[in-house]
């Protein structure tokens, strides 16, 4: 169980830094085409922002932002986005995960459609990784209190 930090410096600087960390993580996810990065890295940086908030504000406050139930839903939603894009390509007449066929839906040529498909897949991966990493960290850090509390 992580309690709220008593140190005013840690609290204030975490409060100021977290929105920028989140924006940086989203930048990493969205610009995976042009620079190093992608779903895995961005998702893990997002999870790290939640860990920083948990260190500074305590785990209970973080549960109001991202409860474990929401994290579970988000992780399965991420995998579902990935598989769903693949299935969409299947329905549009291509092979599974053949994003070129998305150009029937979107007003772009097939190469651009593949690029957009990659972006959607990366977002799904980022959601899944973020939720799973948060879930693992929160579960491990609240282990004793969770299971030993009412015995």
């Amino acid at each position: 169980m992580i309690r709220e930090s008593q140190d005013v410096i840690v609290k204030t600087l975490a409060r100021l830094l977290v929105p920028f960390i989140v924006i940086y993580a989203l930048y990493v996810v969205m610009h995976g085409h042009h620079s190093p990065g992608g779903g895995f890295q961005g998702g893990v940086i997002l999870a790290a922002s939640f860990v920083l908030l948990a260190i500074s504000q305590g785990l209970d406050k973080i549960r109001q932002r991202l409860s474990e139930k929401t994290a579970g839903i988000l992780s399965s939603l991420g995998v579902l986005i990935y598989a769903g894009i693949g299935l969409l390509c299947l329905l549009l007449g291509g092979k599974y995960l053949d994003y070129g066929k998305l150009s029937k839906l979107l007003p772009v040529e097939p190469a651009q459609a593949r690029s957009l498909g990659i972006l959607g897949v990366e977002i799904g991966v980022a959601l899944a990784v973020m939720a799973v990493m948060c879930l693992i960290v929160f579960t491990i850090f609240s282990f004793d209190e969770d299971s030993g509390g009412d015995e």
Partner: protein, 162 residues
């Protein structure tokens, strides 16, 4: 000979790190030390794969220049970029590494909760004694047979803990 040693130095590195990790996984009694050894082992394997992708002589990262310049597949000089395939394989391997690390830590926490120690020899001793198990959990029939007792306790433990 000198050429051989210098030309293969990535393999020596990977073998050395792998031996360190392997030794830690086998010889160290502490479970967290074992997890650390596993981590080093995995990084060594990843290092091996990445080093096969490197090319001599000023290669660039596998991000193509003149990105927006249309369909210029002819302008790409393959020898000028590092091999992207091992990068992809190892990128996924790193994330799987952390996932396995999470599961390993979870199992370690369960073991600690059950036996109050993370030293392997003490755990084995406690399993042999059967002393740490609460009385009602130990099946009376298999008191004498320690192997049976052990499986039984583990089975019971799973029942209780999970």
């Amino acid at each position: 000979m000198n050429d051989f040693v210098l030309g293969h130095y990535n393999y020596w590195m990977f073998i050395g790190l792998m031996m360190i990790g392997f030794y830690a996984m086998m010889a160290k009694k502490n479970l967290i030390k074992k997890i650390i050894g596993m981590n080093i082992f995995q990084s060594a394997i990843i290092l091996f794969y990445i080093s096969t992708s490197a090319k001599r002589g000023g290669v660039s990262v596998p991000i193509l220049e003149h990105a927006a310049g249309g369909h210029g597949s002819h302008g790409v000089d393959v020898a000028h970029y590092a091999n992207p395939l091992p990068h992809v394989l190892m990128l996924t391997a790193i994330v799987v590494m952390v996932a396995t690390l999470g599961v390993a830590v979870a199992v370690t926490l369960l073991i600690y909760k059950r036996y109050k120690t993370i030293e392997e020899d003490e755990i084995l001793m406690k399993i042999k004694e059967g002393s740490s198990a609460p009385k009602e959990l130990v099946d009376v029939r298999s008191q004498k047979d320690s192997i049976k007792l052990r499986t039984n306790i583990e089975y019971r433990t799973r029942n209780v803990e999970l």
